[in-house]
């Protein structure tokens, strides 16, 4: 049985309540950090853990914290917007262990010297919002948030902010704009990294819910213990959200690199395999922004660099399995439609390109495409992500833009024959 960090308590009845959390060692890490450690020591442990951010970009957490400009006012923002189709790992954590998230957030606020922290949670997480808010209320009453926490002299306030239904508000600078009460338009970078200019113009650290939820464990067990799990840059565990054509979709916390895609998909304790007689056609390894990988990559270990070397990304840790009864054209079209609907509309290539590509893909799927449409789609993609390289270049402001080509280009590259069948037979050969 491999070590569970963030999901250690999720199956305990009433795991979301303070009493159960305290019974299972809750808020001991916060006490330890505040009473026995300096902020620098907490930062050192997190740096030593090597933990990469769990939100998608995979940036080293310790290094991000060290980049924070040391202005008098600093903020911490927790990103719980989780709105990418197939990404549902934070969902589990906010509903079933909200105190762990709150504790991690408070420890981080102490480590970076933030006097106010915000948890920005996807607006549709009705139960999650309720549970995080009651966890915050309980933690205030318990003395873990507010003035002079546990007599340490450290004070911090924690505010919960529901999102208003935009995927783009998960992009950290759009999230900051949204928190400020503005329309969720991503800011242009460089030069403005949130660690230099963030919320209300103050230096701000933005971290993902899962990233924060790992912090209490790291403080309790030490960064070395975390780094001892996994391999290379992939340390600790990750919560993989497995979905698609598997028998047992769900969230599985695994030590990084300890299992391969094949094991995650087929192991009866995890994915439980595919329906009788079916085989894996493609896997989308890191959320729908990621390029697809083929069945030849099933023996790759679930690690950051391993997946990057195969030309994709581990991203948000959500893994979608497409079996051989799934239409690649339809899947790619549906993903494009999502991006078109969620493009913030700010920059031309993403706003207009996503709509155009979606329309052509839909037309091909419905049977009125031509062979030259494929080159047209690829060229339109190229005008969003010049060169169609991985990692991508972009003509857009944020990386939602170059996420649009990921699925379309993968589908055309891997399943050109299937596109041709749609075109020649003037319709989709699959049953759906």
């Amino acid at each position: 049985m491999s070590t569970k960090i963030v999901t250690a308590r999720v199956d305990i009845p009433n795991s979301h309540t303070l009493s159960v959390y305290l019974e299972h060692g809750g808020y001991q890490s916060l006490r330890k950090a505040l009473l026995e450690m300096t902020p620098e020591q907490v930062q050192e442990e997190v740096t030593a853990s090597g933990m990469l951010g769990r939100g998608g970009a995979g940036f080293e957490t310790g290094r991000k914290w060290s980049m924070l400009k040391q202005d008098l006012v600093r903020y911490l923002v927790v990103n719980g917007d989780e709105s990418e189709p197939s990404t549902f790992k934070d969902h589990l954590l906010v509903e079933n262990d909200p105190h762990q998230l709150v504790e991690g957030t408070l420890i981080t606020a102490y480590a970076i010297g933030a006097s106010r922290a915000f948890i920005y949670l996807r607006g549709e997480f009705a139960l999650g919002l309720e549970r995080v808010q009651s966890a915050i209320n309980e933690a205030y009453a318990y003395g873990a948030i507010g003035r002079n926490i546990f007599g340490s002299g450290f004070s911090v306030d924690l505010v919960l902010q529901p999102g208003a239904g935009a995927y783009i508000c998960g992009e950290e600078t759009a999230l900051i704009e949204s928190l400020e009460g503005k329309r969720g338009f991503p800011r242009i970078k460089p030069p403005y990294f949130p660690a230099v200019i963030g919320l209300y113009g103050a230096p701000t650290i933005v971290n993902n819910v899962e990233t924060m939820s790992n912090v209490p464990w790291i403080v309790k067990n030490g960064g070395q213990a975390f780094a001892a799990m996994g391999k290379g840059r992939s340390t600790g565990t990750r919560l993989f959200a497995l979905s698609g054509d598997v028998m047992r979709p769900g969230n599985y916390e695994l030590e990084m690199t300890s299992k391969t895609f094949r094991e995650l998909i087929y192991d009866p304790d995890f994915g439980g395999g595919l329906k009788e007689g079916r085989s894996v056609k493609a896997v989308i390894p890191g959320g729908v922004s990621a390029p697809w990988i083929g069945p030849d990559n099933l023996d790759l270990p679930l690690g950051q660099d391993e997946v990057a070397q195969a030309g994709s990304m581990l991203g948000s840790g959500s893994i979608i399995v497409l079996d051989d009864h799934t239409c690649a054209v339809r899947a790619a079209w549906r993903i494009t439609r999502f991006f078109n609907r969620e493009s913030c509309g700010q920059c031309t290539p993403c706003r207009e390109g996503s709509g155009w590509i979606e329309k052509i893909m839909h037309r091909i799927e419905l049977g009125s495409g031509t062979e030259s449409d494929l080159d047209l789609v690829l060229d339109a993609c190229d005008n969003i992500a010049p060169g169609l390289t991985w990692p991508p270049q972009q003509t857009t402001i944020c990386v939602l833009g170059p996420s649009i080509p990921s699925s379309v280009v993968s589908a055309i590259k891997m399943f050109r024959d299937e596109f041709m069948v749609h075109i020649k037979e003037e319709g989709c050969p699959f049953v759906h």
């Binding site: 609907r341 509309g345 031309t348 290539p349 706003r351 996503s354 005008n383 003509t395």
Partner: protein, 285 residues
């Protein structure tokens, strides 16, 4: 940006040619002064830049080699290396122009902006002859009155944020905003709150396409038929600089002229539209 830095001269290279510019100056401006015109839509020298239309992308050298960057957003710096004329830049700019045109109605013959429209001009200069867009264009009811003076045609809008930026940042009347997402992003007013700003006419002047038009000028003249003369507005004692335009012996339009010490190109609606009194049949003198 410190004031020291902005007063320093820096040397950068544009297309292999060394030029001097004021540190902190925007690349698009420095290039223009050096005789290199970079196409643009959302950039406006009297507004904060947003880098949204992406038309002004050029290659700029960074730590990881050359990448496409918006020249309207990037301040120049010492030893900066810029390429404005490569295949990559050309492809990116052509791509943006094509993206802007796919949903554009191309109703230039009946559009008041025709003849003075940057989108039309750049399409004629650089654009492709044929459209590759075979789909149904985006449709909106056109045009809609967003105030007693201003009409908005969302089919023509290229979402450059000039009008909305002006209303918010310059006029302080954030009564028009972007609404919606994706390719259904539109400029509009809030329900039951018309664009009743004293400065609304400026948005019509700076709209780079014919999306915003003002009642007094709609369908009255063609830009190439206008005679014009520089003057000062007489509606109040400010003395804003204006361009007085006329057609067939009647006043048709006032435009604000950019005068550094007076009005930065802006006019109030009273000054801009007050000329209608001159033409009025009800005048006593």
């Amino acid at each position: 940006m410190s004031t020291d830095e902005s007063q320093n001269l820096v040397t950068l290279s544009i297309d292999g040619k060394e030029i001097n510019a004021k540190g902190g100056e925007l690349l698009i401006e420095a290039a223009e002064k050096a005789g290199v015109f970079i196409p643009r839509f959302c950039y406006h020298n009297r507004l904060p830049q947003v880098g949204m239309c992406r038309m002004c992308l050029v290659e700029v050298k960074g730590p990881r080699g050359f990448s496409l960057q918006p020249s309207c957003y990037l301040p120049v710096s010492e030893a900066m290396e810029v390429i404005t004329q490569s295949e990559k830049v050309k492809k990116a700019q052509d791509g943006i122009l094509e993206f802007l045109l796919i949903n554009h109605p191309l109703d230039c013959p009946t559009c008041d902006k025709g003849g003075e429209c940057p989108l039309q001009d750049q399409t004629l200069t650089y654009g492709p002859g044929e459209s590759r867009f075979a789909e149904e264009k985006r449709h909106w009811e056109k045009p809609i009155a967003i105030s007693e003076l201003v009409f908005l045609d969302r089919e023509r809008c290229i979402q450059c944020d000039r009008c909305t930026r002006f209303a918010d940042v310059v006029a302080g009347d954030a009564l028009i905003e972007f609404i919606g997402r994706g390719d259904h992003t539109e400029v509009n007013v809030f329900p039951d709150r018309p664009f009743s700003s004293y400065f609304s006419g400026n948005t019509v002047q700076i709209c780079p396409v014919g999306a915003l038009t003002a009642t007094p000028y709609r369908f009255k003249a063609r830009p190439w038929d206008l005679s014009q003369v520089e003057s000062s507005c007489m509606a109040c004692s400010m003395g804003c600089r204006i361009m007085v335009q006329s057609s067939q012996n009647g006043l048709t339009r006032y435009l604000g002229l950019d005068s550094d010490s007076v009005n930065h190109g802006w006019l109030c609606d009273k000054g801009r539209f007050g000329f209608e009194a001159v033409n009025s049949a009800d005048r006593e003198s």
